[in-house]
Amino acid sequence: MNGFFPAGFFTRNETLVALVILGFSCIATVSDPNFLSITTVSDILRASIVLGILAVAAMLVLISGGIDVSFTAVAVSAMYMTTTFTLAYWPEMPWPLIFLLSICLGGLLGAINGIFIAWLKLPTLIVTLGTLSVFRGFLLTFVGSQRISALPPDMRGFSRLMVARGTTEGGSFYALPLAFVALVFVILLTWFLLNHTMLGRSIYALGGSVESARRIGINVLRIQFFIYVYVGMLAGLAGIIHGSMSRMADPFSLVGQELSVIAAVVLGGARLVGGYGTLTGTLLGVALIVLVQNSLIVVGIPSTWQSVAIGLLILIGTGVPAWQAKKAAAEAA
């Protein structure tokens, strides 16, 4: 197996998920030949933008050995607060500034998580469960609970900016919005961060063992704080993109999606105990979840079975590697 394929290629989660995606696409193409088209691809890519950015954020937390369930609330809060602020004070604000504002607000909310987790050393699940309801409760109580469909003009303008658009020979329409570039940028930035900086190596080290990381001189407090601020910023970005693309600032959206995002990340091979996780795996996981959410019906499974399908995917996608690891451990003993 050495040579062409990297070590452990056939037992990795990435391979497993890629095979499932391939299999799913084959079945879908057989049952509906139209499935294999640029329209489907652009639909899937478009649906992956927000989920993808959030998944990269969730992956970072998982690698560091924590778990964050509050990022959807951060995303929605940053988006909604930015929209209401813009509408009230500077409706003509250009979209890069609107995005920057949302990212900063996200980072600020992330810093609150960081204080509780890094400084007060509370368990990440409990803290983020708490901040999830605090952020959302604050937003709905003090900022507003109305859906705003009259967005600032530049946010609407952003949703019309396209990287590519066109019509296929069959007459169906496809388009890839500019927001996709944001996803690519986030992936590249995070890739660079994780693989080419000391900071990235420290995040992996933290996930391996906090105590060891501390002893080799890593400033655990600062790294953890950075992670949650960075995650908040990514969430702020994802939130504002979500708002722009759905052309509505809906304070009730996104929250409730956090577990499917985490599911996508875990499907891609990141482990809850920390220390493991790759961007390739995460993106494959996102692709699989989006594919299942959007195209289950093409394969002939009614959409009422969607939760069952995603739940089973999580169990299989995490169960098979766990079982393999157990078998390997038994053989080694």
């Binding site: 050995g65 778990i67 509780f116 007060l120 050393k121 509370l122 368990p123 699940l125 409990i126 803290v127 469960l129 708490g130 901040t131 999830l132 309801s133 605090v134 952020f135 959302r136 409760g137 604050f138 937003l139 709905l140 109580t141 609970s145 906090v210 409730g256 577990l259 985490i262 599911a263 875990v266 482990r271 809850l272 105990v273 009614p302 009422t304 079975w305 969607q306 939760s307 069952v308 399908a309 995603i310 739940g311 089973l312 995917l313 999580i314 169990l315 995490t318 169960g319 766990a322 079982w323 690891a325 157990k326």
Partner: protein, 337 residues
Amino acid sequence: MTSNRKTSTWRQAPEFRLAIIAVVVFAFMGMLSPERFLSEQNLTSMAFQFPEFAILALAITLVMMTGGIDLSVVGIANLSAVVAALILTEFVGPDLPTQASLLWLGFALGASLLIGAVTGLLNGALVAFLGLPPILATLGAGLVFTGLAIALTGGSAVMGFPEVVAVIGNTQVLGLPTPLLIFILLAMALHLLMTRTAFGIRISMFGTNPLAALYAAVDVKDMLLKVYMLSGLFASVAGMVIMSRANSAKADYGSSYLLLSVLIAVLGGVNPYGGYGRVIGVVFAVLSMQFLSSGLNMLQVSNFARELIWGALLLFVMTTNTTFLNKFRLPLALHKK
């Protein structure tokens, strides 16, 4: 539990602080609007309201004692309620004579408990045999259970029960609302299980240090299976109470209860890393939450603001429990991380 920890007296125990919080919240709300908060009507309606999520909190408490978490409780509750509801509507209908429908009710309850046990066992098997982290196992399984409930009902509510079904959720026995009675019985059973049986002690031991428990020849797999099965059973009981009170069953009832019951367990002093927790603490936590929630309701504070207050309360209690007051519990938490 308290006798073997030299540094703690009963006054330092988190449960004691919680009892004070419960009393203070009750008194405060009573003073703010005495004629409404202290009215008999409000007190009974509170007693009818809280058992449904309080029972779920007991289920989560049990699992949390092992250092795990059960995110599928609401899914199990709804799946078992949907199955029971389908049995009741398919075979009984609203106009069967009482005796026959009582028989069917018994059958439906049995089926629901069976579903709770089987789904719980499934969770346990995923954790014990496959070695999946509890968060993932119960998250995935919970989605499957909810999905099955959606698939069985097509996503809509199942209605049209015989009248006897309302007995569980809406009547009083010996002056106590039936749901409250069920909760008291389950809480006492769980307390006895945790403190008076070898099984309960093994759970605490495993939660404190899994490796040590393994070396002490605890049959870990068997224990985990039983813990998750019991949690599933509790969840299906909660499902029955919810079904009876709503007089219908649906796949997404009580979706906010998951967060709420985790919150209650943690507020109640259960250590999310396992090993420490007392049922009495959870009871005080439930009471504080219910008093607060009812009182805020009367002061016309919105649901959203209540969400904010619960979250803030969770963070506040966690901070005080681990940082300022109970310094002796911190090393354990750090060690586990």
